[in-house]
């Protein structure tokens, strides 16, 4: 049989110790203890699993969770103008925008136009973040919340009010160096 590689001129064959004697004893206890060393080392360490849902795994800052709509901090107006670009970019077709014209007396957004209806069907959303990329006004961003399960599919259609509302701080953010 030819070896699969070129072994060179000198071939050294390492053989296992003969059964019995010192070699046999080492084989019976030494290697076992070596294995147990790992076991005992882990035994004194803290557990790596988390007790979900009492305890949550922190997410990275760029984690793409549930969407958030934003308002301008100074004026309180919605940043979204209802341009529907997010709906155009959405590969899952889960965003529905119906725009309307602003009433100068009671402005909703800064421009002429605002989103009268803004709905995201989160049961369809694939959390790709294209909506965030498409948005020309940074009005929609991906938040950190990933706890979205519900008992009814229709409850997963998030309306503009739900998306604008400050989400419950349910998900810890991973800190620097964590």
């Amino acid at each position: 049989m030819t070896p699969p590689y070129d072994p060179g001129d000198v071939v050294e064959v390492v053989r296992a110790p003969e059964p019995g004697g010192v070699g046999g004893a080492y084989r019976a206890f030494g290697e076992t203890l070596r294995g147990l060393k790992t076991t005992f080392k882990r035994f004194v360490e803290k557990p790596v699993t988390v007790e979900y849902p009492e305890e949550k795994y922190p997410v990275y800052p760029r984690f793409r969770g549930r969407h958030k709509l934003h308002r301008f901090e100074d004026t309180g107006l919605e940043k979204c103008v209802g341009c529907s670009l997010c709906a155009a970019a959405c590969p899952a077709d889960c965003i529905r925008v119906v725009a309307a014209e602003n009433d100068p007396e009671h402005r909703v957004s800064a421009g002429e136009r605002y989103a009268a209806v803004y709905e995201i069907n989160l049961s369809r959303c694939i959390f790709c973040g294209y909506c965030e990329v498409a948005c020309p006004f940074d009005a929609i961003t991906m938040g950190h919340d990933y706890e979205l399960s519900d008992y009814d599919r229709s409850d997963l259609i998030f309306t503009k009010e739900m998306l604008l509302a400050e989400p419950l701080e349910r998900t810890p953010l991973r800190r620097e160096g964590e």
Binding site: V81, C83, S84, A87, A88, V97, A99, E101, G111, P136
Partner: protein, 806 residues
């Protein structure tokens, strides 16, 4: 002018040899070689190119400077380059210039996603701007009219809208104010741009400067679907594309069909879609219980209607109008004739007998709509195109302006086309048939009035190809006139007969006439026409009325008689979309009628083109298809009908009308087909001679002669479209200043117009063009409509203030 011959030439574009028709502009010729040249201002529909935007610059060998492809006709052997460095640099520079003052507010702009400026900036622009200075600012958004919003910051000054207003619709309202960078589009003195065809500028605008107010911010191109169909609001039957979102029509766009509408729409066609989705629409069958119309299940309403019709039997008077399709009209007449044994059917406003209809519908005498453009002369006889078949108005203007068609207008009421006409003559109101008879006499060289001779001389002098656009009520004389002028079997010449309802031609060809069955075949027992039905109803001879898309109180003359007839009738079964007065007060059963966006069926254009109306949205509420309702009624009345789909209904029509033989929905397709061009046209019945041409009638009485007209805006669809409501007409009496002086009346004064004890209130409108001795009132209004008056000679006196208040 006859159509020019097309000569093909060969030229080279981007190194490829391409065949194109000679003298087409390079932009269009390039398309024959699959080369796209970007344009903003170029739009062939607007006439001669202006080369205003400079986007289409190309390099032509032998010419040192770059040329605008939109205004350079292609010549044999021309060598054109569109992909050289020079051209690219020029195009980038033009885009940069155009964007200097453009706000780039695409996310807010309504045009975003379907904007040529976006597309061209992306495709041909440099991608960056060196302009850091502040941009030009205007107040925005402003109302250009209640229907159109204008954003002047977005305007790139391509002139399209101004050219449209000046050269296509010829309302001369839009102008460009100021000069240079300060230029802006406006009306001369800032008044709103209100015109019958104003909405077209929204579709023309290549940027978001002109936007439709009703559509403002409703949807983006990726939210919507387009659905092609045909507008059924007037005989023009313009092809449209409905913009549908969430099963609602949000916009109507023109679907360019050169043979029908030339790519334009009137404002009623463009904005009255709003009436499809209003709460006032009937979307459930109603039955009158204890004097009140109540929604009921379909089966109940059908049973009640079938019982009522069965009870009345031969004493049913059936009328069809509005957007009634060929299939519905055919089923209606079949049920009335076969199941009820009633010959009393009509679809016309003024009676024209079968022999006359046969003669004027003859395939040898028919002109097509584009013939208007290419004829030597056009005669508009006793019709006002802008009110009765709006889109023809633009076509006639185009012919006169671009192809120097000689136009003669003969009408009672001053026409909107008078300014374009080489000759306008007036006759007494109601004198259309008599004047046509005089024209025939003049054309045959017999004794006739000077006016008639002048018109015939003008038509003869212009050339052989004459197109006569006339109202259906003129009748038999039209055929005689066409023959006398030698128009029979001439291509590019003939008649276009404007019927009184949107599908008037189709309805008469499928047999909704008192004296003709399907295919204009004679019937054994002729029935009563509409006006006689009213009399018979009032006298108790007819006990039930069956109204399909017609409200006699609104749409037909002799309102008083109709009121008595409907009052006296035991049953009135109506198919209606809105509860107009006659339906609301008198109907015992009301079936909802679909809007044309929901309809499935065919229409026949006045020039013989069969077109399909196809559903763009689902049936609203509990609506059912019209043919289905009629077929259900027919079955309840014991008729064996094999109608389970709209296609089967059309097959029934095609089997019964010899000259429609073999027509299928597939054959009609998206562009329609003229039945005169099919083989089956030879089955058209031979004309059976003409009745005596009407002798000139002289109106008796000392008062003023009353003429009536129905404005384009007088329709329930306009009343129920929020955006159009400002256009709903109110009664005004148009009169000559001389008459007003004599009666001591002034412009704007409230008056009472009375005849034989009937009276309407109106506001005086003085028009110099109105011939003295005639006054004109409007029909089709909610209040004070002209059909309230029972005589044709009226008296006018100032209204007493208390009467105005009432």
């Amino acid at each position: 002018m006859p159509r020019p011959e097309i000569k093909m030439i060969t030229f080279s574009i981007d190194g490829r040899e391409v065949q194109a028709p000679e003298n087409t502009m390079l932009v269009d010729a390039a398309k024959y070689g699959d080369v796209e040249i970007p344009v903003f201002c170029y739009e062939p529909k607007l006439g001669q190119p202006v080369g205003a935007c400079r986007m289409c610059l190309v390099e032509i060998e032998g010419i040192p400077k770059l040329q605008t492809a939109c205004s350079t006709p292609v010549k044999d052997g021309m060598v054109v380059h569109t992909q050289t460095q020079r051209v690219h640099e020029a195009q980038e520079a033009v885009v940069e210039f155009l964007l200097l003052n453009h706000p780039l507010d695409c996310p807010v702009c309504d045009k975003g996603g379907e904007c040529p400026l976006q597309d061209i900036s992306f495709g041909w622009g440099g991608g960056r701007s060196r302009f850091v200075e502040p941009k030009r600012h205007f107040q925005k958004p402003l109302e250009l009219s209640p229907l159109i919003a204008i954003d002047r910051e977005r305007c790139i000054l391509c002139y399209r809208c101004v050219r449209y207003s000046q050269e296509v619709s010829e309302d001369y309202q839009l102008v460009l104010q100021e000069r240079g960078a300060a230029s802006y589009v406006a009306t001369f003195d800032g008044h709103p741009y209100v015109a019958p065809f104003s909405g077209n500028i929204v579709e023309l605008c290549p940027v978001g400067a002109l936007t439709s107010k009703p559509y403002r911010f409703r949807a983006r191109p990726w939210d919507i679907e387009g659905a092609g169909t045909v507008c059924t609001m007037c005989p023009g039957q313009c092809n449209v594309t409905l913009t549908v979102r969430d099963d609602r029509v949000l916009r109507v766009l023109a679907r360019d069909h050169e043979e029908v509408d030339d790519g334009w729409l009137c404002d009623r066609g463009r904005f009255a879609y709003q009436s499809f989705h209003v709460d006032e629409r009937i979307t459930s069958p109603l039955v009158r219980v204890d004097g009140e119309l109540r929604p009921v299940p379909w089966d109940h309403a059908l049973d009640v209607a079938a019982d009522a019709l069965k009870r009345a039997g031969g004493a049913v008077g059936a009328l069809a109008g509005g957007g009634t399709t060929n299939e519905e009209g055919f089923l209606l007449q079949r049920i009335a004739r076969e199941a009820l044994g009633s010959p009393h059917l009509d679809s016309q406003r003024a009676p024209v007998d079968r022999r006359s209809l046969l003669a004027i519908g003859d395939p040898g005498l028919q002109a097509t709509v584009p013939d208007i453009e290419y004829a030597h002369a056009v005669l508009v006889l006793d019709t006002e195109p802008v009110d009765e078949m709006a889109i023809l108005d633009l076509r006639i203007r185009k012919g006169v302006r671009r192809r120097r068609v000689r136009l003669a207008v003969a009408s009672a009421r001053p026409s909107a086309l008078d300014g374009n006409a080489a000759l306008s003559v007036r006759f007494a109101p109601g004198g259309g048939p008599a004047f046509a008879a005089e024209l025939v006499a003049a054309a045959r060289g017999e004794a006739a009035s000077d006016d008639a001779r002048a018109v015939v001389d003008l038509l003869r002098g212009a050339g052989e190809d004459v197109v006569i656009v006339a109202s259906e009520r003129v009748g038999a004389a039209l055929a005689a006139l066409a023959d006398a002028l030698g128009l029979r079997d001439r291509d590019g010449a003939g008649l276009i007969v404007v019927p009184s309802s949107a599908n008037g031609r189709g309805l008469r060809e499928v047999g909704v006439l008192p004296d003709a069955g399907p295919g204009l075949a004679p019937v054994a027992r002729p029935g009563l026409h509409a006006a006689e039905m009213a009399r018979a109803g009032a006298e108790g001879e007819l006990t039930a009325f069956w109204l399909h898309g017609v409200d006699p109180l609104r749409d037909l003359p002799y309102r008083e008689r109709w009121e008595q007839a409907l009052d006296r009738a035991t049953d009135v079964i109506a198919h209606a979309a809105f509860l107009t007065e006659g339906i609301r007060e008198h109907a015992t059963v009301v079936f909802p009628v679909e809007a044309y966006a929901e309809k499935d069926g065919t229409l026949t254009h006045p020039d013989g083109r069969l077109q399909r109306v196809r559903p763009g949205i689902g049936l609203q509420g509990r609506n059912r298809y019209g043919w289905q309702v009629l077929a259900d009624l027919g079955r309840r009345l014991g008729l064996e009908l094999r109608v389970l789909t709209a296609g089967m209904a059309l097959a029934e029509v095609a089997a019964a009308v010899p000259f429609y033989a073999g027509l299928t929905q597939d054959e009609i397709g998206g562009r329609g087909i003229r039945w005169q061009e099919r083989e089956a046209a030879s089955a058209y019945p031979r004309p059976e001679g003409l009745p005596d041409l009407a002798a000139p009638t002289v109106r008796e009485g000392a008062g003023l002669r009353l003429g009536t007209f129905r404005s384009i805006w007088a329709s329930p669809e306009v009343e129920h479209s929020p955006a159009l409501r400002f256009l709903v007409p109110r009664q005004r009496v148009e009169m000559a200043p001389a008459d007003a002086d004599r009666l001591g009346l002034g412009d704007g004064q409230r008056v009472v117009v009375s005849a034989n004890g009937s009276r309407v209130e109106a506001t005086v409108t003085l028009r110099h063009a109105v011939p003295a001795g005639s006054v004109f009132l409007q029909d089709g209004l909610v209040r004070d409509a002209a059909n309230t008056l029972t005589g044709s000679v009226v008296e006018i006196r100032p209204a007493v203030t208390s009467e105005v208040a009432g």
